[in-house]
C-alpha cells in the first residue's frame, strides 16, 4: 500500500495587522485623569495636551498590545475607541512632541522600523 504524504493543517492565527489610516487630525484638549474608585490614577492632569483623532478603514485588532501613535519616537499611548474606525490618542507628555517629527502608527513597544507612516509630520495644533 502506498503512503499518504499528508496535508499539513494551517493554523488559524490572529491577524495583528493594523488597518490603513484614512485620516489623522490633532487638537488641543484638557486631560483629566479618570477618577478611580480605589486609588488615584498615576496619569497626570494636563491643562493642555494634544489629542490625535485617527480614522481607519477598519477596526484595530484587539490584542494585548495597544495601538500607539508615535511622534518621532515619542509614544502617544492613551487610546480610546469611539467606534470601530475612530480612535482618540492623548499625549501624556505633550512637551516631548517635536514639531515636524514624523507621525506613525504602530503597536506598543514595536520598533520604529515596523510602524506605519501616516503621511503627516507633526504640527502643534493652534488653540
Amino acid at each position: 500500500m502506498t503512503s499518504d504524504s499528508g496535508a499539513r493543517e494551517r493554523r488559524p492565527r490572529p491577524d495583528h495587522r493594523l488597518p490603513r489610516v484614512v485620516s489623522i487630525a490633532t487638537r488641543l484638549v484638557r486631560f483629566v485623569p479618570p477618577e478611580r474608585r480605589n486609588f488615584a490614577s498615576s496619569l497626570p492632569r494636563l491643562e493642555r495636551t494634544v489629542e490625535f483623532l485617527v480614522e481607519t478603514d477598519g477596526p484595530i485588532p484587539v490584542r494585548a498590545l495597544s495601538p500607539v501613535v508615535y511622534v518621532g519616537d515619542v509614544p502617544v499611548a492613551e487610546v480610546a475607541a469611539d467606534d470601530d474606525t475612530h480612535y482618540r490618542f492623548t499625549a501624556m507628555e505633550p512637551e516631548r512632541l517635536e514639531e515636524g517629527a514624523p507621525v506613525t502608527l504602530g503597536w506598543s513597544g514595536e520598533p520604529a522600523s515596523q510602524r506605519t507612516a501616516v503621511g503627516e509630520a507633526f504640527v502643534t495644533p493652534r488653540g
Binding site: R11, N38, F39, S42, A64, L65, V68, P75, A77, V79
Partner: protein, 839 residues
C-alpha cells in the same frame, strides 16, 4: 543527564555478592492502617515488617511491581509506633529500612483524608475493576454505583485496584470512597458509566525477554477483562483497571509466544488478539534512570523490564541491588562519580549497562504541586453591577452553589487567589478561561476568583487601561470582603484576606503587578503575585516599571508569544525584590493564548505545545507559587529549581530565581563599572577574556538586540581559557552555594552549538577548584524565534561541595570567584546576579 549504554564486557565491575539493598515502605504511615506496602525488594524475597522492635508480619513479597507488596498487619497501627521493613533473599538479609513513625492522619490532613480519585477514569459499561488513587495507605476504600457498594478493599495501598461486582451498567453513577480511623474522605468525582470503546483495541505487549516472570500488556480499556494465553494455552482471565496489566508467569524462554484479548461486556465482540514472541536474553536492554546528582543515596529507575533486578555500581564497585522504581544505595554519590546501572532477570544476566557521570546539580523529577486533591470544588458566578466573575471554592461536593466545606471552614479562614484575564475580544467570556486553574487551586483548600474584565476589553489601551483593570480587580476583592462580612452566604466568615494571591494574564498580568502598589490599606495582605505573559505599558511609555516587592513574585514567559512579543514579564522579574523569593519561568514553544481556554487562536511565532501543555505549565507553577505562599508548604522548590515537576516538559523550561537571604557579589546595577563588583571589591579579566557591563534591555548601548530585560549585566567573551575574576573578601562557602544567572547570548539565529564555562573558587591560599556549567545543568540554549532569538538568563546553582577534596581547596576561606570560558572563540555568555546563598 550525561548517559550512554556500554557493554559489560568492557567493564571490570566489582560485584558484592553479600549486598542486598534495603526495601522501603510507602509512607507516610498513619494510625489505624491495617496494612503497609513494601517496595524495592527483589522478586520472591521474603519481607519482614517490624513494629516497635518486633517482627509482626511478613512473608513472600512476590513482585515489587506494579503496586509493591501489601502486607497485612495483625492489628491496626497506632500513632507513635516505629515501623520498618527488610528483605530476606537467597540466604541474605538486607539492612532494615529507615524507620517510619506512625502519625495521626489529622496532623497532615486536619480537614480529613484527601478525596480518592478514580484513576484511570472514566468507567465503562461492564467494567469489572476500578483503580483508585490519592489514598492514604492502609485506609479502607470502596466503590459505589448509584449509591450501592459494589467493591471494597480494606487496608489499601496508595493506588488500589478494586474489583467490582456486579459489573457496571450503563448510566450508573460511580464514586470511590475512603475512610481511615472512621474518618471519611470526601467522595471522589462522580462518573457516569458510559459505553466503552467499540471495537476494543488490540492489546499490546511490552518486549518480553528470556527469563522474564512478568509480562506487561498495554492498551487495556478501563475495567476490561483480559484473557492471556501462552503458547496457545490459556493462563486465565484477569481484571484490569485500565492502561496496563502486569501478569506474573513462570519463567519464559526465548521464542515462546503470548497472546491476549480483552473484553468488557460478554455479549460484545472482544478485541482482536495481541501477540508477542519472547526475545532472547541477548536483547535485554540497559535500564533507564532519572537525574543523578551529588549527594544522592538512591537511584530512580525510569524504565526497566518488569521483575528485573537492578544493580548499581559506583566507580565500578557495587553499591546497590534492588528493583524499580527506587534502589537505595549503600553510599552517597559524589559529583564526577561514574555510575553503572544494570538490569537482569533470574536466568538472564545483564549484558549492557547504563553509564553516567554524577552531576553536581541535576534535580530529581518528583511530584506535582498541582496534584494535591483534598476537597470537592463548588463554583458560582457573582455579579454586583459591573463587578462580576466566577469563583471556585472547597465545598462539600462538586457543583454549582454547593455549601462551603464545613470541616475546612471549622479550622479557620482560607486563602483567596484573584485572577484577571487580559485584553481580548469582548465577545468571548475570557474570565471563564482559567476554570481549570481555579478548580486546581480550590481543591487544595483555597478560594479562586476570576474577574470578568470584559467591560475594559477592546481596542483601547495605555496605562489608563491597566489602572482600570486594577481598579476592577480591587472592586472584586472588596466584593468578597463584603460577602465575607455578610451573614447568610457561602463565603460568610470563610476568607482570610491576610493570605491573598493574585494571578493576571497579559494586560491582567500588568494589572496584578500594579495592584500592590495602589491598593492601600483595605485589610488585605498580598503574599504572592503571578504575572502570566504580562504586558508592561509603563515600560513602553517611558514610565518607571513597577518593582514587585513585599511578596513572592513569579512570571511565566511563553517563548513563542506572538502577542506580547517582548516577553515583558522579564522586566518585572529583573526589578523584583525577593520576598521571600522571585522567579521567572521561561517556557519554550509556548504561545500567549493557550493558557486561556476561551482564547482560540494559536498566536505562536513557531509551532507550539498543545493547549493542554500550556495549561499544565500554569497549573503546576501557579500551584507551586500559591501553595508555598498561601498554604505554607514546600512547593516553592519547584520554582527554585531544587525539584522538577513530573508531567511537564521541564527540558523546555528555563528557570531564573532569587531568594531573600543571599549575599550578592555582583548584580552589575550599581554603576561602578566592570572593574568593581557589588561588594566594592576588584574584578579583573585576564588570559584573553573580555568582559563589560551592558544594559540587558531594548535600548541603545545594549550588547546586541537580543536582550529583553530591565537590568544591567555582564557579557563575557574570551579566547580559550580566558578568565574573569571577582574578589569576595574572605567568605565561608562550606554551607553555601554560588548562584549565577546566565545565558548564551542570542542573535539573529541560534548557533549550532552551545556555550560552556567553568566556575572557579579560589581560596586565600591561591588554590582554585572548578565546577563546569555542564555539571550543574548547562547553559540553556536560546529558543529559536524567527528573526531574533532572545538572551533570557536562567539561574545555575554551583555547590562548592562538588569540588573534590583532592583539590585542596579550603571552602571555608574563599577569596575570589572565577568564570572561565570553555567554549569555542567568538561566542559570548551573559551573566548577572552572582550570589552566595546559604544551603
Amino acid at each position: 543527564m550525561d548517559a550512554k549504554v556500554v557493554e559489560l564486557e568492557e567493564l571490570d565491575l566489582g560485584h558484592d555478592r553479600e549486598l542486598l539493598s534495603t526495601p522501603w515502605l510507602a509512607g507516610p504511615l498513619y494510625q489505624c492502617a491495617t496494612a503497609v506496602t513494601g517496595w524495592g525488594f527483589v522478586p520472591h524475597a521474603d519481607l519482614e515488617v517490624e513494629v516497635d522492635g518486633s517482627v509482626v508480619a511478613g512473608g513472600p513479597g512476590g513482585f515489587p511491581e506494579p503496586q509493591g507488596a501489601r502486607v497485612e498487619l495483625p492489628s491496626p497501627l497506632v500513632a507513635g509506633q516505629a515501623v520498618r521493613v527488610r528483605q530476606l533473599w537467597d540466604g541474605l538479609a538486607s539492612a532494615w529500612s529507615p524507620t517510619l513513625v506512625v502519625r495521626d492522619h489529622t496532623e497532615d490532613y486536619p480537614a480529613g483524608p484527601p478525596r480518592p480519585q478514580i484513576n484511570p477514569a472514566p468507567v465503562w459499561t461492564c467494567g469489572s475493576r476500578t483503580g483508585v488513587g490519592n489514598l492514604l495507605g492502609g485506609a479502607d476504600v470502596w466503590i459505589t454505583a448509584d449509591g450501592a457498594e459494589v467493591g471494597r478493599v480494606n487496608g489499601c495501598s496508595q493506588q488500589q485496584g478494586v474489583n467490582v461486582n456486579s459489573f457496571y451498567a450503563l448510566g450508573q453513577r460511580v464514586r470511590a470512597h475512603a475512610e481511615l480511623c472512621a474518618d471519611p474522605a470526601p467522595p471522589s468525582v462522580e462518573y457516569e458509566v458510559a459505553a466503552g470503546p467499540s471495537p476494543l483495541t488490540t492489546p499490546t505487549f511490552d518486549p518480553v525477554y528470556d527469563g522474564a516472570e512478568q509480562v506487561r500488556i498495554g492498551s487495556i480499556a478501563n475495567g476490561a477483562r483480559v484473557t492471556v494465553s501462552r503458547g496457545g494455552a490459556s493462563l486465565g482471565t484477569y481484571r484490569c483497571w485500565g492502561g496496563a496489566l502486569l501478569v506474573g508467569v513462570a519463567p519464559v524462554s526465548a521464542g515462546e509466544t503470548f497472546s491476549a484479548t480483552q473484553e468488557l461486556c460478554t455479549d460484545d465482540p472482544g478485541s482482536p488478539p495481541g501477540t508477542t514472541t519472547v526475545q532472547p536474553c541477548s536483547a535485554l536492554p540497559a535500564p533507564g534512570v532519572g537525574p543523578v546528582q551529588a549527594g544522592d543515596a538512591s537511584i530512580t529507575v525510569t524504565s526497566s523490564v518488569p521483575g528485573a533486578i537492578i544493580r548499581v555500581y559506583r566507580n565500578l564497585a557495587q553499591v546497590g541491588m534492588g528493583t524499580a522504581p527506587v534502589v537505595p544505595l549503600t553510599q552517597a554519590l559524589v559529583a564526577g562519580d561514574t555510575v553503572h546501572v544494570t538490569q537482569s532477570l533470574t536466568s538472564c544476566p545483564a549484558r549492557l549497562a547504563l553509564e553516567l557521570t554524577v552531576a553536581c546539580v541535576d534535580p530529581p523529577v518528583a511530584g506535582d504541586p498541582s496534584a494535591l486533591d483534598l476537597f470537592p470544588v463548588g463554583h458560582l458566578e457573582y455579579a454586583d453591577g459591573p463587578v462580576r466573575g466566577s469563583v471556585y471554592y472547597p465545598a462539600v461536593d462538586d457543583g454549582e452553589g454547593q455549601p462551603f466545606h464545613e470541616r475546612l471552614a471549622a479550622l479557620g479562614r482560607v486563602p483567596i487567589v484573584v485572577m484577571a484575564h487580559g485584553n481580548h475580544s469582548p465577545a468571548d467570556p475570557s474570565y471563564l478561561g482559567y476554570d481549570y486553574f481555579q478548580a486546581s487551586v480550590a481543591k487544595t483548600g483555597m478560594i479562586a476568583v476570576s474577574v470578568d474584565c470584559n467591560a475594559l476589553n477592546g481596542a483601547g489601551g495605555g496605562v489608563g487601561n491597566i489602572e482600570d483593570r486594577a481598579d476592577l480587580v480591587i472592586d472584586s476583592i472588596k466584593h468578597f470582603q463584603a460577602l465575607d462580612a455578610t451573614p447568610g452566604n457561602v463565603f460568610t466568615g470563610r476568607i482570610d484576606f491576610d493570605r491573598l494571591g493574585l494571578m493576571g494574564h497579559s494586560r491582567g498580568g500588568d494589572a496584578v503587578v500594579t495592584i500592590p502598589d495602589v491598593i492601600g490599606s483595605i485589610g488585605v495582605s498580598i503574599r504572592a503575585v503571578l504575572a502570566l505573559a504580562p504586558t508592561n505599558f509603563r515600560y513602553w511609555y517611558g514610565i518607571p516599571t513597577i518593582t514587585p516587592r513585599g511578596y513572592a513574585f513569579s512570571t511565566i514567559l511563553p517563548a513563542a508569544d506572538g502577542d506580547v512579543v517582548d516577553n515583558n514579564g522579564a522586566q518585572f522579574y529583573d526589578v523584583s525584590e525577593a520576598a521571600p523569593y522571585t522567579s521567572q519561568v521561561y517556557v519554550h514553544s509556548a504561545n500567549h493564548n493557550f493558557f486561556n481556554r476561551t482564547w482560540a487562536f494559536d498566536d505562536g511565532v513557531t509551532p507550539v505545545f498543545a493547549r493542554a501543555t500550556h495549561e499544565r505549565v500554569l497549573d503546576v507553577y501557579g500551584s507551586a507559587l500559591f501553595r508555598s505562599m498561601l498554604l505554607g508548604d514546600g512547593s516553592a522548590a519547584y520554582l527554585l529549581g531544587t525539584v522538577k515537576p513530573a508531567g511537564v516538559p521541564t527540558e523546555a523550561i528555563d528557570l531564573a530565581y532569587r531568594v531573600e537571604h543571599a549575599n550578592t557579589v555582583d548584580h552589575h546595577d550599581d554603576g561602578n563599572g566592570i572593574g568593581v563588583n557589588s561588594l566594592g571589591l576588584p574584578t579583573s579579566a585576564n588570559g584573553g577574556a573580555f568582559a563589560d557591563e551592558y544594559p540587558f534591555d531594548q535600548v541603545g548601548g545594549a550588547f546586541n538586540s537580543s536582550f529583553f530585560g530591565l537590568t544591567v549585566g555582564m557579557v563575557l567573551e574570551a579566547e580559550e581559557e580566558g578568565t574573569f575574576r571577582s574578589e569576595v573578601g574572605e567568605v565561608d562557602l562550606s554551607e553555601a552555594q554560588v548562584w549565577l544567572r546566565v545565558a548564551e547570548v542570542g542573535g539573529a539565529s541560534v548557533a549550532s552549538s552551545g556555550v560552556s564555562f567553568e566556575l572557579g573558587l579560589e581560596d586565600v591560599h591561591g588554590t582554585t577548584g572548578w565546577i563546569s556549567s555542564a555539571s550543574v545543568g548547562g547553559v540553556p540554549r536560546p529558543f529559536e524565534r524567527p528573526g531574533q532569538s532572545k538572551t533570557m538568563l536562567s539561574t545555575l546553582r554551583f555547590d562548592p561541595g562538588c569540588i573534590g577534596r583532592r583539590s585542596g581547596l579550603d571552602r571555608r576561606r574563599i577569596a575570589a570567584i572565577h568564570l572561565k570560558f570553555t567554549s569555542e572563540r567568538d561566542r559570548a555568555i551573559a551573566f548577572d546576579d552572582l550570589q552566595l546563598v546559604p544551603a
